[in-house]
């Protein structure tokens, strides 16, 4: 691959010298941070110029505006689903999937609604009105179906757990009743067992069971 590349011409050499000098001008702030700029292997057009091949870095980006309510916007967008089929929320998609054209558009809509004075819930409602409930990352916990969605797993587990506990305690009571109805079985060895011995046995068994 390197063999096919043209050799460095005098013009390129001079350009490199000029760009090095330019780089030294922006050097001090970087040097102050204890850092050094990396060397481009395919030269661009200067530190603030265009890239050598802008087409390989994906869709051109717009500068992100610095807003006072950025955290709030982020929180709202994390509750809105991107419609590109990525299964991500709007914030995550627009800062992750850079081929997506939907999430930047949805972001702009969020900003416009916020700037028009809507609060977080108002923005979410506006999205639901426009795109339907699928615009939300999770269905609203209202209505029979949605509430079933949220509550069914927990309710089933709670019901099964309670049923299980009742079943065990009910059976325990039945067994206790049956045992009390019959006489205590004689010791298999026929030996008398003192309460102290029983206590020692219990502790020994507890040790084994541990």
């Amino acid at each position: 691959m390197n063999q096919s590349r043209p050799e460095l011409s005098r013009r390129h050499f001079l350009l490199l010298g000029v760009s090095s000098a330019a780089a030294s001008l922006v050097g001090p702030p970087l040097a102050a941070a204890g850092l050094q700029a990396p060397q481009d292997s395919l030269s661009g057009r200067g530190a603030t110029g265009t890239l050598r091949d802008p087409s390989v870095v994906g869709r051109p980006r717009q500068p992100t505006a610095i807003r006072g309510d950025e955290a709030e916007i982020q929180a709202i967008e994390q509750r809105l689903a991107c419609s590109c089929g990525c299964t991500l929320d709007v914030f995550t998609c627009r800062t992750t999937d850079f081929t997506c054209t939907y999430s930047p558009e949805l972001h702009r809509e969020v900003l416009a609604l916020r700037d028009s004075g809507k609060n977080a819930q108002g923005i979410l409602d506006a999205f639901v009105d426009k795109y339907g409930e699928k615009a939300l990352m999770a269905p609203k916990p209202e209505g029979v179906i949605n509430l079933t969605g949220y509550l069914l797993p927990g309710a089933l587990i709670a019901a099964a757990g309670a049923g299980l506990a009742l079943f065990i305690t009910g059976r325990k009571a039945a067994v206790a009743a049956a045992v009390s109805a019959s006489a205590a079985p004689p010791s298999p060895t026929g030996a008398h067992v003192s309460p102290e011995d029983l206590d020692r046995l219990r502790r020994a068994l507890a040790d084994i069971e541990d």
């Binding site: 870095v57 051109p60 800062t95 990352m137 927990g154 298999p188």
Partner: protein, 679 residues
């Protein structure tokens, strides 16, 4: 080579049918020659599928672009490691991978299972052959990996950039190994039901296999999380994506089985439940395959939508009907030997643990399918994303974490109040100290606080168990602390390996709780500009955009954005995030540009940098900066889990040779009694 591959597939198909017919016809009974033929067929199927696999690999390595699969997933300039892994990168190749690995597992099961269980093996061969034959039939009739094109392209399309990651060389095979090996416990369960030998024999025969499946699934899931974290670039490792959920489901039910099977071994209870869990786990593995391959649910992990999904759906229904019908016909033979005596017993704790694990599995399945159900019932499309799953599953997960600590502390049969006091006091104090410390440092997130406090409690239980074990060994054998510790684990691998797995679960939960405090920020920076962020641990980070380098690599053009990172005023060095435009050998772009994130990890937090793109093609760059707390611990938790799992299934163990095993009290009494009766 394609002819050889297709011939091998057809041969495997024919042998599979032969094996299935013979083993289920029952004619092998009393005919050792036919029984041996069933088993030998499994080896022959393995041979055929190995030949088919080698034929596919030969096509991949020799760039035979006339093969549709080779042209779709490789290119001349694809690095060799990814040419190798392209075998399982696509739908068709992964089906062949599944079939060949299953045949090897089936052969290993025949070879490694003790002669004591010979009565099960022809049935095991039959069930495994049936599953293999199904996969081979899908390849033959719907997804032929050896399909030829009408023309030969000069170069292939190349591999999806997101799959060009070392994680994708290891993660899918691990996950597949987990999924695939689930067939073996299922086959043993079916063999026990078919042969009506329903004692604990089948459990002993397949115990190692259940652990192998569980371990591979766990490692595969963790590697998948790692791959998603480093490759997908969204800043997290778990998004409750349908395909992620599909891998979690069988792991949850298998974990439930690993606990409940202990009750069957110790007390002869839960026999029906254990069969149901094994069958359910296998069905969930097929369900996961159906979801991944059918396109029925949108996922970033899915294969291309195809009609293969219908095959899996049909297979799922048939297997469910047959296996549960078989279980139903043996229902009366599966009566428990004894009954549960108390809610406050280890059996009951394990039962509640099972309930929660299966409940969480149901909850995940419910959430995964809820969009479809909602659309069917209401006619309205909804999205069920991370907030839904977190709201439903986090409380259940915390309950499960609590039970992880409670289970090992309660005595079998029935725990006395004294036992409970003795066992719980130290762990509860440990949990309360953790809670106090969290509140003192200002942690206020409810779920994170509960998770970390419970983690303190569970850590207390585990430390207490190890402490008491070491103390007992020192008292009995006079061993030094390190020796007693080593031997404690070595002689009781199953129990203490299990505790190590509990440590891993604990680490996972702590790490997951950490993500509740993650920070994210977007910034557009010109070279020399900086952005600042404060991490949850209070560190001040400064990110300075240095510039963008563009260079050519083997199969891509790279645009690398370099960022100088300083923490609390001290330079940490440079980090790079890249845009990669993959190209074929003629320099033609093959896919959309992909992103490589920059990650710097330490025990506290990860700095995670995403180069989102350039403003109008200049070096002015748009970034997303994340500070993700405790992520390193997720990967460490995976390591500990693997360690515990391997320890649990490592052969050997048992009591120290110089000291005889303690005699169980009940047996001692019986012997004395029988001696007195004149024995």
């Amino acid at each position: 080579m394609t002819l050889l591959g297709q011939f091998a597939l057809w041969a495997a198909f024919a042998l599979g049918l032969w094996c299935v017919l013979l083993s289920f016809s029952g004619r092998w009974q009393g005919r050792p020659d036919l029984s041996a033929s069933v088993v030998r067929s499994i080896y022959a199927i393995s041979g055929c599928l190995l030949v088919a696999s080698l034929a596919l690999w030969k096509g991949l390595i020799s760039h035979d672009f006339n093969m549709e699969y080779v042209a779709s997933y490789t290119s001349r300039n694809l690095p060799n490691a990814y040419i190798f892994s392209a075998f399982w990168a696509g739908q068709k190749g992964s089906l062949l991978f599944w079939a060949v690995v299953l045949s090897l597992f089936a052969s290993a099961a025949q070879l490694l299972t003790s002669r004591r269980f010979a009565y099960l093996m022809p049935y095991v061969a039959g069930v495994t052959a049936a599953v293999i034959t199904f996969f081979v039939s899908v390849m033959i009739f719907a997804a032929d990996p050896f399909e030829r094109l009408a023309f030969t392209p000069a170069d292939g399309r190349g591999l999806n950039p997101q799959l060009q990651n070392v994680g994708m060389i290891i993660h899918p095979p691990m996950l597949y190994l987990g999924y695939i090996s689930l067939t073996i416990p299922f086959a043993f369960a079916m063999a026990a039901l078919l042969s009506r030998r329903l004692d604990t024999g089948w459990i002993h025969a397949m115990r190692k296999w259940t652990l192998v499946s569980w371990l591979f699934l766990a490692i595969g899931i963790t590697l998948g999380m790692w791959w998603a974290y480093v490759e997908l670039g969204w800043g997290g490792y778990w998004a409750w994506d349908p395909v992620e959920n599909a891998s979690l489901l069988p792991w949850l039910t298998m974990t439930a089985f690993l606990h409940s099977v202990m009750i069957q071994e110790k007390r002869g209870m839960l026999k029906r439940w254990n069969f149901s869990l094994v069958i359910g786990t296998f069905l969930l593995s097929i369900f996961g395959t159906f979801i991944t391959r059918s396109g029925v649910i949108a996922s970033v992990h899915s294969f291309t939508q195809s009609n293969v999904g219908y095959f899996f759906l049909a297979f799922l229904v048939i297997v469910a009907v047959l296996s549960f019908t078989l279980l139903y016909t043996r229902w009366d033979l599966l009566e428990a030997d004894v009954r549960l005596e108390s809610v406050v017993s280890r059996e009951a704790a394990f039962l509640f643990n099972n309930l929660l694990l299966v409940g969480i599995a149901f909850s995940v399945l419910w959430g995964t399918l809820f969009p479809i159900l909602s659309e069917l019932v209401r006619g309205t499309k909804i999205t069920v994303g991370v907030p839904f799953f977190n709201r439903v599953n986090v409380p259940l997960g915390l309950l499960l974490l609590g039970l992880t600590g409670v289970g090992p502390l309660i005595a079998w049969r029935k725990a006395s109040t004294a036992n409970l006091q003795r066992q719980f006091i130290a762990p509860v104090i440990s949990g309360l100290i953790t809670l106090g410390a969290l509140l003192a440092v200002g942690v206020r997130d409810f779920y994170a606080t509960v998770a970390l406090s419970l983690a303190g409690f569970v850590a207390g239980t585990i430390v207490q168990e190890f402490y008491r074990g070491v103390r007992a060994r020192r008292r009995m054998h006079g061993e030094s602390i390190p020796l007693a510790f080593g031997r404690l684990i070595g002689r009781n691998r199953r129990r203490y390996g299990g505790y190590i797995v509990h440590v891993a679960v604990l680490i996972y939960f702590v790490a997951f709780a950490g993500m509740a405090f993650k920070r994210e920020q977007e910034a557009t920076l010109k070279p020399g500009d900086s952005a600042e962020m404060t991490s949850p641990f209070g560190h001040r980070y400064r990110f300075t955009h240095m510039g963008i380098s563009q260079y050519e690599a083997l199969n891509r053009i790279v645009s690398a954005a370099t960022v100088g990172v300083a923490k609390d005023g001290k330079s940490l060095g440079l980090m790079t995030s890249e845009k990669r435009q993959h190209v074929d050998s003629f320099k033609r772009p093959t896919f959309e540009p992909s992103t490589e994130v920059g990650i710097r990890s330490n025990l506290q937090e990860d700095v995670y940098i995403v180069y989102a793109g350039s403003v109008d093609g200049t070096e002015e760059a748009v970034y997303r900066f994340n500070i993700n707390p405790l992520v390193w611990w997720v990967w460490f938790g995976g390591f500990v889990l693997a360690l515990g799992g391997i320890l649990t299934m490592w052969p050997g163990g048992g009591p120290t040779s110089s000291v005889p095993r303690r005699v169980q009290a009940g047996y001692e009494v019986t012997l004395v009694g029988s001696g007195k009766d004149g024995a």
